[in-house]
């Protein structure tokens, strides 16, 4: 079973990494969802015991409740992060009218040049006044 869990986690994480490299911001978020899923699965798989659900009264072996509690926490936090990411993506869209990382990079480079130019102009003015 160990091997099966590891294989599944590997495939999930690999697919997530692939998606996270896309130009499309929405696919980047999807990739992160997959990576989070892989992490949750790993957590669950690392339980020391397997068996009945840990709800009283129990007879015989129960499955490890500690990893379940941890996975729950991880799930909820992962969810909060993804919600935040999605709203960030939307905010980026309203600001730049695009979801394309290449376009965004170009925009940022242009902005950086503008700032540089502005600073240079300011310096020139200051120097001219200094004289």
């Amino acid at each position: 079973m160990t091997l099966a869990f590891a294989l599944a986690a590997g495939v999930l994480a690999g697919s997530g990494a692939y998606l996270a490299l896309k130009r499309d911001l929405l696919r980047v978020v999807a990739g992160i969802v997959l990576i989070a899923n892989a992490a949750n699965l790993t957590l669950m798989a690392s339980g020391g015991t397997r068996g009945e659900s840990p709800i009283l009264p129990v007879e015989g072996e129960i499955s490890d409740p500690l990893v379940q509690a941890m996975t729950l926490t991880a799930l909820v936090i992962g969810f909060a992060v993804i919600a935040l990411l999605l709203s960030l993506v939307y905010r980026v869209y309203t600001g730049y009218d695009t979801l394309d990382l290449d376009e965004l990079s170009k925009e940022e480079a242009r902005h950086a040049r503008e700032i540089d130019q502005q600073a240079r102009d300011d310096d020139d003015v200051a120097e001219a006044e200094g004289r």
Binding site: L7, A69, A80, L99, E108
Partner: protein, 746 residues
């Protein structure tokens, strides 16, 4: 806020601090020694010994006239630049911070604590020099001061760590006890001395001090006389017992000090701007102090301490003079000024006393400073005495040029009225110089006390007039004669000095600084360009090599028994099938289909995993997973519905058209997946130890009044974690709301 409140507060702080420190010093000093971070050997160790008392008294004592002056100066300064008076509190807060960090620096007995205050003074001075922040020159000057002093401060830190590595202590008294002459101590001492020289603006770091003159006058006055620049020589005095162990370091100090005195003196002679003259004078004067520490011995160290006090008083007054003169006339160049003695008698008289002090004329306290200098130099030999004489002549010449240029000759400008609060400090400081010229005992006492921690022994510092023909007196007479001669030939001398200064500008270290800064800036620009041009390229650049490294590590570590296939029974078949299904759907999600398809595929992965959790005997997790997956899918769809269809379509096309990375992205995905697989497999193979944690938790559950063990863990046993989790969710929610509503919460 009332405009008098901020200056009054810092003024009261400075005054109260001065009185308290003075009282403490007179009653024998005090000490605070508390463990701060004992595991790291850090102590909050402050002690008011003689050296600390001298610098702390200077920092608070000089602050009083400076703050009084600033009170009247600042509103005018702000008005001239069209800035609001509401910017005043910031100025006083920064000056107050500067003062406090300087006092802390003086008191610190622990190298790490010292480093902390050291950097605090750098930060405060940065903000103060750039106080006129709309001025690009001021910003650049501040950055220069910060870079020069903060980068060299790293040398101080490295020296500290070297010493700690060898002697396992940061405490200075402790170090003095155990340190012996060795290469480590020499290297550490050299690094610490480097930081000190940069802070005191000694050659070749002198360029920042001249630039820093763009700061408002009270800042310049304070920076030069009692803070920042004084911090460098304070550090030398503080770690002197360590420096003393390596004669080569002391010789280096002599050279650096002499070079600084010479360069500073020549530059001071060549400058036209009032504050520039004073700036170069300052660093020449601190050159004296470094020179004296280098000469060493009882007389050298004692003289250094004496020099620092007299210089602080006199230089502060001279800066305030420059400020008052500029306020009265609007001019700040020597060539535009002259004959002000009649219009500003108090300032003229006060600054005469102070200029005479710097030039070491008799009847002022400065005379004794030069006597002590000559005595210390003579003890080392005639060569050193000749060096001292040369510098004393230069000092006399530029001080004479400064004062006569300002106050004698024909008036060239109209002098307006100057507020009394700007005149009085100059007068008071001048009077102190004169009174101390007659009764030097208090100055000598404080200098003597200040030399004690440097020498680890009490030495007498004698300041009195000897009316005989001893060598010191002869040297002083020679100084006066030669100085008068240089001043008389003042047409030729400044021209020659200026030629030297111009040469220095062309070849000097400032050029190296500017070139270095430009190169760094260019490099940063290029890296930034690369980064923003292709973000994914950068991610790949990190992912791929680290994946390869991980793979290598796994290949090289022994694998026997490290990986277990694990038990498998027929009952596990549904689990395996579900896992396989989830994996297949995850791969399908990477196909370039429409966004909605992708979202639904993602949801399928999540639900498949929920089934896996259910099969693993975790109904709680399965339930939450279903809930979370549903909401995530809905969120995705919500975002999709907000974004126009054309934009989404063009994204689809972009995904398909991509050529250059056809093989790169899958390769990265494969490496990442393989790495995770090997990592997880290795990790899971090691768990499954026996243990009865599950059993114990089950027994604890009823005590938490819960039937569900997982609930008991979340709400009781690990409640703090859950609180953290809830906080994360709340913060994320806040962020989402702000983002979606464009900054409004409701």
């Amino acid at each position: 806020m009332r405009t008098w409140a901020p200056p009054a507060t810092v003024l009261a702080m400075a005054g109260a601090g001065f009185v308290a420190l003075l009282w403490l010093w007179l009653t024998g000093g005090g000490e605070v020694d508390v463990p701060w971070a004992p595991t790291l050997d850090l102590r909050l160790h402050l002690r008011l010994d003689g050296l600390a008392a001298m610098y702390a008294l200077m920092a608070t004592g000089v602050a009083v006239p400076v703050f009084v002056f600033a009170w009247r100066y600042l509103p005018h300064h702000l008005a001239q630049q069209g800035r609001s008076v509401r910017e005043q509190p910031r100025f006083y807060a920064l000056l107050g911070m500067f003062m406090v960090s300087m006092v802390g620096l003086a008191l610190a007995q622990d190298l790490i604590l010292l480093f902390l205050f050291w950097d605090l003074t750098a930060v405060a001075s940065y903000l103060l020099i750039a106080y006129d922040r709309q001025d690009g020159g001021a910003r650049r000057a501040a950055l220069m001061a910060l870079l020069v002093t903060a980068i060299t401060a790293v040398a101080l830190l490295i020296g500290t760590l070297l010493l700690y590595d060898r002697y396992a202590t940061f405490s200075l008294p402790e170090l003095f006890r155990v340190a012996e002459s060795s290469t480590t101590v020499t290297v550490a001492g050299a690094l610490i001395a480097l930081a000190a020289l940069a802070k005191s603006a000694q050659v070749p770091f002198h360029f920042w001090l001249g630039r820093a003159m763009v700061a408002p006058t009270p800042v310049s006055a304070y920076l030069h006389s009692a803070a920042m620049v004084a911090a460098g020589v304070l550090l030398i005095g503080r770690v002197y017992p360590l420096l003393e162990l390596s004669p080569v370091l002391l010789d280096a100090l002599v050279v650096a000090g002499f070079a600084s005195m010479l360069v500073g003196g020549v530059l001071a002679l060549s400058r036209d701007d009032l504050k520039q003259v004073l700036a170069y004078s300052t660093f020449s004067q601190y050159g004296y102090v470094v020179f004296l520490y280098g000469l060493g011995g009882e007389s050298g160290v004692g003289a250094a301490a004496f020099y620092v006090v007299t210089h602080a008083v006199a230089k502060c007054a001279l800066f305030l003079t420059a400020g008052a003169v500029t306020r009265a006339t609007g001019a700040q160049r020597l060539s535009e000024l002259g004959g002000l003695a009649r219009a500003m008698p108090v300032v003229a008289a006060g600054s005469l006393a102070c200029a005479a002090t710097v030039a070491s004329l008799p009847l002022t306290v400065g005379f004794f400073a030069d006597e002590l200098l000559f005595k210390a130099a003579l003890e080392r030999g005639w060569v050193f005495a000749a060096m001292a004489l040369l510098i004393a002549v230069l000092t006399l010449a530029y001080m004479a040029r400064f004062w006569t240029g300002l106050f004698l000759g024909a008036p060239r400008t109209e002098a307006g009225p100057v507020p009394g609060a700007m005149v009085a400090p100059v007068g008071v400081l001048g009077a102190i110089c004169l009174v101390a010229g007659l009764v030097p005992a208090p100055f000598a006492a404080i200098a003597q006390d200040a030399a004690t921690p440097s020498l680890l022994a009490a030495v007498p510092v004698e300041a009195r007039y000897y009316l005989d023909l001893r060598a010191e007196n002869l040297l002083a007479l020679a100084t006066f004669a030669l100085g008068a001669l240089v001043h008389a030939g003042h047409r030729a001398v400044p021209a020659a000095a200026e030629a030297v200064a111009r040469l220095g500008e062309r070849l000097g270290p400032e050029r190296a600084y500017t070139a270095g800064l430009a190169a760094l800036n260019g490099l940063s620009d290029r890296v930034h360009d690369l980064e923003v041009r292709d973000f994914r390229g950068r991610v790949t650049a990190i992912f791929l090599p680290s994946g390869v490294l991980f793979a290598l590590a796994f290949v090289l570590t022994p694998t026997v028994g490290a990986y277990a296939v694990g038990s498998f029974s027929l009952g596990d078949l549904p689990l395996v099938l579900m896992l396989g299904f989830a994996a297949c759907v995850a791969v399908a999600a990477t196909r370039p289909r429409g966004h909605l398809t992708m979202v639904l595929t993602l949801g399928t992965v999540g639900f498949a995993l929920a089934v896996v959790y259910a099969l693993l005997g975790a109904p709680n997790v399965a339930l939450v997973a279903v809930l979370v997956e549903t909401i995530v899918a809905l969120l995705f769809i919500g975002v999709l519905s907000l974004i126009p269809r054309e934009v989404l379509r063009s994204q689809m096309r972009a995904t398909r058209e991509r050529r250059g990375t056809r093989f790169r992205d899958p390769a990265v995905g494969l490496v990442a997946g393989a790495t995770v697989f090997v990592l997880v497999w290795g990790g899971l193979s090691r768990t499954g130890g026996e243990g009865d944690a599950a059993r114990r938790l089950t027994e604890l559950a009823p005590e938490a009044h819960a039937d569900n063990v997982v609930t008991a863990i979340l709400a009781d046993l690990r409640a703090l974690d859950t609180l953290g989790e809830i906080t994360v969710v709340a913060v994320a929610l806040l962020g989402v709301t702000k983002l979606l509503r464009r900054g409004r919460l409701w």
